[in-house]
C-alpha cells in the first residue's frame, strides 16, 4: 500500500497500538493478581452465569450442611435415649420379672418394687429428654412434655400418657433429602403401652399375681422388639443424614471445581501472556520514542 505517512498518522497509530497492548497488559496483570479470569458478568457472560448459579448452589449446600449437623445431633440424641430406655429400663424390668418368680423374702420383693418404680421414673425422664431446648419425642409440639404421668397419693406413677403432637417436624438435611430426625410420633405413642406394661408388672409383683407378671413380661418383650425396630429406624435415618452430608460435601467440591474452571485464571498461561505483552509494550515504547525522534530536521 502506497500511503503517505504523516506526523499525526504515525503518532495516532503508534499510540493506539501502545494503548491496545497496555490494555492487554493490565488485563493479564489483573488476572495474575486476582487469580481470576472472570470477575464481572461482562468478562464472560456464559461462564459468569454458570459461576453465579454454582455459587448459589454452594450457599444452599452449606445451609444443608448446617441443617445436617442439627439433624445428626437430634437423631444421635434420640438413638441414645431409646438405647438407654431399652438397655436400662426394659432389660432390667424383664430381669426383675424373672427374679420375682423365686422370691419368698418380703424385703427383697419391696426392694424389687422400689427398683421398678425407679425404672419407671427413669424411663419417663428418658422419654422426656430435651435437646436444644425442645422435647425430642413430642413431634412438632416440641415445647410440650411428650409423656405425662398420673401419680398416686403416695407419688407412685399409676399411668403415663402421650401428650405430644401426632406430626413430626421434618426439614431438608441435604440436597433432595427431607426427613424428620427423631422418632415418628406414631411410634412414640407406643411407649405409653410400654409404660403401662411396666406399671402392670410393678402392680402384679406387688399383688403376687403370677399370671399378670407373665402377661406384663410378655408385653415388655414385645415392647423391646418394637424399640429395637425404632432404633433400627433411627439408625436408618442417621445413615441417610450422614450419606447426605458425604454426598453434599462431594457435590460442593465439584461445584468449587466447576467455578474454578469457569472463573479462575490459568496462571501459567496468564503469566506467559503477561511477560510477552510486557516485552511487546517495552518494544513499542522504544520504537515510538526512536521513530518520533527521527526527522529530516536532524540532518539539516
Amino acid at each position: 500500500m502506497n500511503m503517505r505517512i504523516t506526523d499525526n498518522a504515525y503518532r495516532e497509530t503508534s499510540l493506539r497500538d501502545i494503548q491496545r497492548i497496555q490494555r492487554d497488559v493490565v488485563k493479564a496483570h489483573k488476572e495474575l493478581i486476582t487469580h481470576q479470569r472472570v470477575e464481572r458478568p461482562s468478562d464472560d457472560p456464559v461462564a459468569a452465569s454458570k459461576a453465579l448459579h454454582q455459587t448459589s448452589e454452594k450457599r444452599t449446600l452449606s445451609q444443608y450442611a448446617k441443617n445436617n449437623r442439627v439433624a445428626l445431633d437430634a437423631v444421635t440424641e434420640s438413638h441414645a435415649s431409646l438405647t438407654e430406655f431399652k438397655d436400662t429400663v426394659l432389660t432390667r424390668a424383664q430381669e426383675l420379672s424373672i427374679l420375682v418368680d423365686d422370691i419368698s423374702d418380703g424385703n427383697a420383693k419391696e426392694a424389687y418394687l422400689a427398683e421398678l418404680n425407679q425404672l419407671i421414673e427413669h424411663g419417663l425422664q428418658v422419654m422426656n429428654t430435651k435437646h436444644r431446648g425442645e422435647y425430642l419425642f413430642s413431634g412438632d409440639s416440641s415445647l410440650t412434655e411428650p409423656f405425662s404421668a398420673v401419680r398416686s397419693a403416695g407419688g407412685k406413677i399409676i399411668s403415663v400418657s402421650y401428650a405430644g403432637s401426632s406430626k413430626a417436624r421434618s426439614y431438608d438435611v441435604g440436597e433432595g433429602v427431607h426427613l424428620s430426625p427423631t422418632l415418628d410420633p406414631a411410634q412414640t405413642t407406643q411407649f405409653s403401652t410400654c409404660f403401662a406394661n411396666l406399671i402392670n408388672l410393678r402392680d402384679a409383683i406387688s399383688s403376687g399375681d403370677n399370671n399378670a407378671i407373665d402377661l406384663a413380661r410378655s408385653g415388655l418383650l414385645t415392647n423391646e422388639t418394637d424399640i429395637v425396630a425404632d432404633l433400627s429406624n433411627l439408625g436408618g435415618k442417621q445413615m441417610r443424614i450422614e450419606s447426605a452430608k458425604v454426598f453434599d460435601t462431594a457435590r460442593y467440591k465439584r461445584l468449587e471445581e466447576g467455578i474454578h474452571g469457569n472463573v479462575d485464571a490459568d496462571l501459567a498461561e496468564a503469566s506467559t501472556r503477561f511477560k510477552d505483552l510486557s516485552d511487546a509494550l517495552d518494544l513499542a515504547f522504544k520504537i515510538h520514542s526512536h521513530a518520533t525522534s527521527q526527522s529530516i530536521l536532524n540532518y539539516l
Binding site: M3, R4, T6, D7, N8, A9, E12, R16, T34, H35, Q36, E39, R40, P41, S42, D43, D44, P45, V46, A48, S49, L52, H53, S56, K58, R59, T60, L61, S62, Q63, A65, K66, N67, V70, A71, R132, G133, E134, S138, G139, D140, S141, S142, L143, S165, K167, R169, Y171, D172, V173, T249, Y252, E256, I259, V263, D264, S295, I296, L297, L300
Partner: protein, 478 residues
C-alpha cells in the same frame, strides 16, 4: 524582454516563492493539529508574451492553491465518529448498570469449605446472594423454628433483601436522571455547535465571495472540526449548497425518513429540543430519528437496557411479595410478610406488623411446627411462568441470574462492537490523515526547495542589477 521587465518578473517570482515558504511554514506550525488539513501552493508558468524579438517568458506565479481535503473521507469520518460515540455512550451506561447490580464474582472472598460458605458475610453482596441468604435463613428456621437467633437472622436477611431491591431501584433512578442530564448537556452542545457552524458558514462565504478562486482553508478546517464534534453527539448529513460560496446545509431525518434541515444557507433554523429521550426539532416539534452519536446511544440504552432492567427487577420484587405473602399468610387470614402495597423494587418492604414476636413458622398451634417455612422453601424451587399469569419465568434465582447475565451480555456485545468500530474509525482516520495531515519531512523538503528557488531568483536579480549598474553607471557616464 528588457532588463527592467526581467527584474519585475523576478520580483514577482520572489513573492511566489515567499508564498510557498509561508505555506510550508503554516503547515509545519500545524503539523500536530489534528483538525488541520495541509495546504499546498502549486507553481505555474506566468505565460509568455510575443514581442518583435520573439516569445518572452513572464516567469512563475502561484497557479493553484490546494487544500488537501477529501469530502468523501470527511463524510465517512463523520459517520464513523457518530457510530463510535453511540457505542461509547451505551458502553458507559451498561458499565454503570453492571456496577449497580453488583453481581461480581470474588474468589478470594468465597469459601472452599461447605461448612462456612453460607454465612460468609465477606462475600460481595449482589441481589443473588441476598435471595440465597433469605431462603437459606428459612431453611435454618425450618430446622430450628424455636431458636431465637435463627428468627433474628431471617428477619435481618429479609430486611436486607428488601433494602437491596430498594437500593437497585434508587441506583436505576439516579442512573436514569444522570442519563437525561447527560442528554440535556449533549443537546446544549449540539445547539452551540450548530451556532458555530452557522458562523463559520458565514465567514467562509464572505471570504470566498471577496476572493474568487481562493479557499477559506482555515475556516473550512474549523467547520469540519465542528461537524466532527457534532457527529459525536448525533448522526446527520451534510450537503454543499451550490453557488453559495462554500456554504453547507445540515439535515437529519424523521422516523419516516423525511429530511429535516436544521441549518441551511440562511443559518440555523431553530434549536434542537428534548422530549423524554426523543430529540425534536421545529415547531410543531418533529421527533428526529437519530441513527448515531451519543444522544442516539443514550436513548437506545435507556429504552433497551435501563427500562428493561427496571421492569425485570420490578417483576422479581412483585413476584416475591405475592408468593411470599401467599405462603406466609395462606387465605389472607393473618398478617403478611411483605407490605402488600410495595409491589415493585422501589417500594418493597417488610409488613409493618412483622417482628421477632409476631413472626410465625406455622399456621397451626404447635410451636415447633415449620409448615410455613416449608411452604416458603417450596417457592425457592418453584418454576414460575408468565404464561400462567406469574410475573417471572423460572425460579427466583434463575430469573435474577438471567438479569445479571443479560446486562453482562449486553455490555460485552457493545464493548466488542465498539472495539471493531474503533478499528474502522481509525482506518478511516488513517486514510484521511494520509491525504490531509501534515508530514513535517515533506514540508521541510518543500521549505528547502522554496528556499533554493528563492535564493536562485535573488541571485538572478543580483545579476540583472549588476547589468543595470553597468548600463546606468558606466555606459551612460561615458
Amino acid at each position: 524582454m528588457t532588463l527592467l521587465g526581467n527584474l519585475h518578473n523576478n520580483a514577482r517570482a520572489l513573492d511566489t516563492h515567499t508564498r510557498a515558504l509561508e505555506t510550508a511554514g503554516h503547515n509545519l506550525q500545524n503539523a500536530k493539529n489534528p483538525n488541520y488539513a495541509r495546504q499546498r501552493v502549486h507553481l505555474t508558468n506566468s505565460g509568455s508574451v510575443d514581442s518583435q524579438k520573439g516569445f518572452h517568458s513572464m516567469g512563475v506565479q502561484v497557479g493553484r492553491f490546494e487544500h488537501a481535503r477529501s469530502s468523501f473521507l470527511d463524510k465517512q469520518l463523520i459517520r464513523e465518529k457518530s457510530a463510535t460515540n453511540t457505542l461509547k455512550s451505551q458502553e458507559s451506561i451498561y458499565q454503570q448498570l453492571e456496577a449497580d447490580l453488583a453481581e461480581f464474582i470474588s474468589r478470594s472472598e468465597s469459601s472452599s469449605s461447605i461448612h462456612d460458605s453460607s454465612d460468609n458475610q465477606n462475600e460481595k453482596k449482589g441481589l443473588l446472594k441476598s435471595i440465597d441468604d433469605f431462603f437459606n435463613a428459612f431453611r435454618a428456621v425450618a430446622a430450628s423454628p424455636l431458636e431465637d437467633a435463627q428468627k433474628t437472622i431471617l428477619l435481618e436477611r429479609a430486611e436486607t433483601l428488601a433494602h437491596h431491591f430498594n437500593l437497585i431501584s434508587t441506583r436505576l433512578e439516579n442512573l436514569s436522571n444522570d442519563l437525561f442530564d447527560e442528554m440535556k448537556g449533549d443537546l446544549a452542545k449540539a445547539n452551540a455547535l450548530l451556532d458555530r457552524i452557522e458562523k463559520l458558514n458565514g465567514s467562509i462565504a464572505r471570504f470566498e465571495f471577496k476572493s474568487p478562486g481562493h479557499m477559506a482553508a482555515d475556516f473550512r478546517d474549523d467547520r469540519q472540526a465542528a461537524l466532527e464534534e457534532l457527529s459525536e453527539l448525533m448522526n446527520f448529513d451534510v450537503r454543499t449548497i451550490p453557488d453559495r460560496h462554500g456554504k453547507i446545509e445540515v439535515y437529519l431525518r424523521d422516523s419516516s425518513g423525511t429530511e429535516i434541515t436544521v441549518l441551511d444557507a440562511s443559518g440555523k433554523l431553530g434549536d434542537l429540543s428534548l422530549s423524554g429521550d426523543l430529540v425534536q426539532f421545529g415547531s410543531p416539534a418533529i421527533s428526529l430519528n437519530l441513527k448515531g452519536g451519543s444522544l442516539d446511544g443514550y436513548a437506545k440504552v435507556n429504552a433497551q437496557a435501563i427500562t428493561a432492567f427496571k421492569s425485570k427487577i420490578d417483576s422479581l420484587a412483585h413476584q416475591l411479595v405475592l408468593s411470599m405473602n401467599e405462603a406466609y399468610n395462606p387465605g389472607s387470614l393473618n398478617t403478611n410478610f411483605f407490605d402488600t402495597t410495595g409491589l415493585d423494587a422501589k417500594s418493597i418492604a417488610l409488613d409493618t406488623s412483622l417482628s421477632f414476636q409476631s413472626f410465625r413458622t406455622t399456621v397451626g398451634a404447635q410451636p415447633g411446627a415449620n409448615d410455613i417455612a416449608l411452604d416458603v422453601l417450596a417457592l425457592a424451587d418453584k418454576n414460575f411462568s408468565t404464561a400462567s399469569g406469574d410475573f417471572i419465568d423460572g425460579r427466583f434465582i434463575d430469573y435474577a441470574t438471567r438479569i445479571s447475565a443479560d446486562i453482562g451480555s449486553g455490555l460485552k456485545s457493545v464493548s466488542d462492537r465498539l472495539e471493531s468500530q474503533l478499528l474502522l474509525e481509525s482506518a478511516v482516520l488513517s486514510n484521511r490523515n494520509a491525504i490531509s495531515s501534515v508530514s513535517s519531512n515533506e514540508e521541510v523538503a518543500s521549505l528547502l526547495a522554496s528556499q533554493q528557488a528563492f535564493g536562485a531568483t535573488a541571485r538572478v536579480m543580483e545579476v540583472i542589477n549588476s547589468c543595470l549598474n553597468v548600463i546606468v553607471n558606466e555606459l551612460v557616464r561615458r
